[in-house]
């Protein structure tokens, strides 16, 4: 392999790395809150918030810079005394239900909760009729 080809290959590999910012992570992206009780609250919340850049991960799992910035928001707000559910509501207000992994009954999700109950009810009725007839 000629050195020119090698150089071209190396440059092709270097290009994607350039599409990433060079700033250090936000202060609380990788640093825990000093108070362990608050950090535990923040950690529990971060595990149920979706990373918007890497949509199948939580922000606690992701190393995307934006997930780090979201962890900074969560930790500073909780360190300032905000309730975890208030922080979740702040994000849902901005990104919709999609940002939260915690199941919630809402105008769009209620069938998910209602249908299993209705099915159980139907099964119960059918069973009662069949068993009643057998007896």
């Amino acid at each position: 392999m000629s050195w020119r080809l090698l150089l071209a290959l190396l440059m092709a590999l270097a290009a994607p790395a350039a599409a990433q910012d060079l700033l250090p992570p936000a202060p609380y992206a990788y640093r825990q809150i000093e108070d362990p009780a608050l950090e535990a609250k923040a950690q529990a919340l971060m595990e149920t918030l979706r990373c918007l850049k890497c949509q199948s991960q939580s922000i606690a799992d992701s190393d995307a810079p934006m997930a780090g910035d979201m962890r900074h928001q969560v930790r500073t707000r909780i360190a300032a005394g905000e309730d975890p559910e208030a922080v979740r509501a702040w994000l849902v207000e901005r990104y919709g239900d999609y940002v939260s992994y915690k199941p919630a009954v809402s105008a769009t999700t209620w069938p998910l909760f209602a249908i299993p109950l209705l099915l159980l009810l139907a099964v119960g009725l059918i069973l009662r009729r069949r068993l009643g007839r057998a007896r």
Partner: protein, 175 residues
């Protein structure tokens, strides 16, 4: 009871039809902002280059509708949309910007290379304003009316066909 079986069969067939249809649809990759129609959250960002002032939420409620471009020098599509931002500016749009996780020298170099259509550029090192807008990536462009209310969000780079859409949204916002 045969009618009951047919109904059941139809329900199951309908369910599998729904699965097949939804599986054939492309995945929605973008998370849209839920802030459309809401007032822009309060913020005050310092400048990032010497020849443009920073950006605050008060600047966005000064009576004149504006385009708010969320960009970064490290973002490749942001360079791709530069000619269309220039066209929007030439058509009379006042474009302000937020630079996400960026260094002053890199922004200066980026504007040198691709042009500077922005009247103000705020510096957002930890994506705080981006998160408060419900924006989930770069580039994104918001239409803000003269009262500082978010009226429209464009996700991704501005293609040729998006220019007229953004100008129409800007007109609708009162420009």
């Amino acid at each position: 009871m045969t009618w009951f079986r047919w109904v059941l069969l139809a329900l199951v067939a309908g369910l599998f039809g729904l699965f097949a249809y939804m599986l054939s649809q492309p995945k929605e990759e973008f998370v849209e902002s839920a802030m459309i129609g809401e007032a822009i959250p309060a913020f005050d960002l310092p400048p990032i280059v010497p020849d443009r002032p920073g950006l605050s939420s008060a600047d966005l409620a000064d009576g004149q509708p504006k385009l708010l471009n969320v960009f970064a020098s490290w973002c490749v599509p942001c360079a791709a949309e530069a000619p269309n931002l220039a066209r929007l500016e030439a058509s009379g749009a006042n474009i302000v910007a937020v630079a996400i996780r960026d260094r002053p020298e890199d922004v200066a170099q980026f504007l040198e290379a691709y042009g500077n259509p922005f009247s103000r550029i705020g510096r957002d090192d930890i994506s705080a304003v981006q998160l408060s807008l419900g924006s989930s990536g770069v580039p994104e462009t918001f239409v803000i009316d003269g009262r500082g209310v978010i009226r429209y969000q464009h996700i991704g780079d501005i293609r040729d066909s998006d220019v007229s859409v953004l100008l129409a949204e800007l007109r609708e916002a009162g420009a």
